[in-house]
């Protein structure tokens, strides 16, 4: 089903650092989950429209009206670092 490479790839996309032991463990566990879900493919779904959303609701909309924003100090209150009213993010490109 899946191998360690898939787990490493997914972990990379999610920016998770896994040690070797965890990689082995997750490869097995995710594999089991996928096997289980794979049971669904035994069903004939040729005539079934794919489900995009499971709650029977639609068109929840609001009017185009401006509401007050947060005061800027509050917006920045949780920022680990800030400068000149802006969030400061660490270096983007790795060396």
């Amino acid at each position: 089903m899946i191998d360690k490479k898939d787990v490493e790839y997914a972990a990379g996309l999610a920016q998770l650092k896994l040690d070797e032991e965890e990689k082995e463990k997750y490869t097995e566990q995710i594999g089991e989950i996928l096997d289980y879900v794979d049971k669904l493919s035994e069903l004939d779904t040729d005539d079934v429209v794919p489900t995009a959303y499971t709650v029977p609701m639609k068109n929840v909309l609001r009017k185009d009206e401006v509401q007050e924003s947060l005061p800027r100090e509050k917006s920045l209150a949780n920022a680990p670092d800030e400068k000149d009213g802006q969030f400061r993010a660490p270096k983007i490109m790795s060396d």
């Binding site: 996309l13 929840v60 909309l61 185009d64 947060l70 009213g85 802006q86 969030f87 993010a89 983007i92």
Partner: protein, 481 residues
């Protein structure tokens, strides 16, 4: 014999919608505020918040879809596009993946080489990202400052089919899209301010080959001329590569305006795997016929139709029709004047001449000046009825432009009425004849051009107010008997 190559271009155009509030929260979309003033828990992606879709955004997307001759989806939904970059506080962008609002459209464009139909693959909705300012260059900076004011501003992305074969066609397509959005009044379409953004996919293939060549994705073209120049450069680069036996690498390239070339971004971005999945926080959209019809009614006559009608029904030259319909306000103003005036070509001359000159000088749009459509119609009638001369009209027009007065008042107050009374002109004409015996002799010897000189003298004497046709006739009567 060397291989001939054909260029294949497809464009992805992002259009910022000019709603008052953001797509999923009530923050203002106003441009130019202090950093992070237009932010709230929703657009900052704080835990526990829920997005609620702005109805106007959907209205506008439907209008855009209809104007681009698309099929509007009966059922549409939002998806999460996941990637890590500080311009996205949630680490995903809410966009649309497999069920966009509109699909399968096309628009007609025209270049010097003819008329082309360009397919529109899809129109989908998404939220804009924030703005980053790197401390120094992106690869050397120690950190980046983030302003989330733009985060959550509504966008539509319009993806074209790979139907364009020259950079000029791509530019014409982009221009047509911009005009359509302006006519719909759903975006400011300002490339410099970023409310219209364009990425291009470019590839070459041997003429006759069905299969596409390897493409490069071109970004960072921030003006119409940059789009054309960037594409021209990229086509040349790829052709040279292929002719030398090399291969085009699939990559993202950025247009560097100062260096006048495209630069590879390879190695500077990770391979894309956006792991799209349905956005669980937003319920699906169902767009019924009634909603579609309501939006269809909001769509005015579009630039291409207007252009064709100006040519076929008003008898305007294609050039005039192109200039007038190229700017929505110009076209609207033109048609307003025509309600009170019935010589389209004469009006077009005035609009493209004096009016456009003054608008450009003052950096105005047509409705910013003191000239109202009704007053322009009245002024043109004053010329047609010989009340003022064409020359004086320019003076009257400029005064109307600056003061907002009506032409009759200006003509009256400034004493600019054309002199069409023979008795009044008699003395002046006689005086000119007496003072210019050489020219008079020339006229009598059959040199017709000398008449023009004498008419000019009378015009000068009357400061442009004499009726030139009448003066001409009077001179002929006096000198040629």
């Amino acid at each position: 014999m060397s291989t001939k190559y054909e260029t294949v271009i497809g464009l992805e155009v992002h259009v910022q919608l000019n709603t008052e509030s953001k797509i999923f929260c009530g923050c203002s979309t106003e441009f130019g505020k202090e950093p992070n003033e237009n932010t709230c828990p929703v657009c900052l992606g704080l835990p526990g918040t829920l997005p609620v879709l702005n109805k106007k955004v959907v209205d506008y997307a439907i209008m855009a879809g209809l104007a681009l001759n698309c099929e509007i989806a009966e059922y549409s939904k939002f998806d999460r596009k996941n990637y890590f970059y500080p311009d996205l506080p949630k680490a995903y962008q809410i966009s649309q993946f497999d069920l966009p609002v509109a699909e399968n459209g096309r628009i007609e464009i025209e270049t010097d080489e003819g008329i082309f139909n360009i397919g529109v693959t899809r129109v989908h909705l998404e939220e804009d990202a924030g703005k980053l300012i790197h401390e120094g260059s992106i690869d050397k900076s120690k950190g980046s400052l983030v302003d989330y004011n733009r985060t959550g501003v509504p966008l539509i992305e319009i993806v074209s089919e790979p139907d364009m074969r020259t950079p000029a066609q791509a530019k014409a397509y982009l221009t047509e899209l911009k005009m359509i959005m302006e006519y719909l009044d759903i975006s400011d379409c300002n490339m410099e301010e970023g409310s219209l953004r364009c990425d291009a996919n470019v590839s070459l293939r041997p003429v006759g080959q069905e299969e596409f060549g390897t493409k490069a994705e071109l970004k960072n073209m921030n003006s119409f001329s940059a789009v054309e120049k960037g594409l021209e450069y990229e086509v040349k680069r790829q052709r040279q590569l292929l002719e030398e036996g090399g291969e085009v690498v699939q990559e993202t390239r950025t247009w560097d305006e100062s260096l006048n070339k495209t630069i590879s971004m390879r190695g500077k971005e990770e391979a894309h795997d956006y792991r799209y999945f349905p956005e669980p926080d937003l319920v699906p959209l169902e767009i019924n016929e009634a909603w579609k019809e309501e939006m269809r009614k909001e769509i005015p006559e579009l630039p291409r139709e207007k252009y064709k009608r100006f040519v076929s029904e008003l008898g305007l030259p294609e050039y005039d029709a192109g200039v007038l319909t190229g700017d929505k306000d110009m076209a609207v103003f033109f048609e307003e004047v025509l309600k009170d005036y019935d010589d389209p070509k004469n009006l077009s001359n005035w609009m493209m001449g004096e009016f456009l000159r003054l608008l450009n000088e003052n950096n105005h749009s047509p409705f910013d000046s003191g000239v109202t459509p009704l007053n322009l119609a009245r002024m043109l009638k004053l010329i047609d009825e010989d009340v003022i001369s064409g020359k004086i009209a320019k003076e009257v027009f400029e005064k109307m432009y600056n003061s907002g007065s009506d032409p009759e008042t200006i003509v009256e107050e400034e004493g600019l009425k054309q002199i069409s009374d023979e008795d009044e002109l008699e003395n002046i004409v006689d005086g000119i004849i007496a003072e210019n015996s050489d020219a008079v002799e020339d006229v009598q010897n059959g040199k017709d051009r000398a008449i023009g000189f004498l008419v000019g003298q009378v015009m000068k004497e009357t400061r442009g107010k004499a009726n030139p046709g009448l003066v001409n006739q009077m001179l002929r009567d006096k000198l040629m008997d």
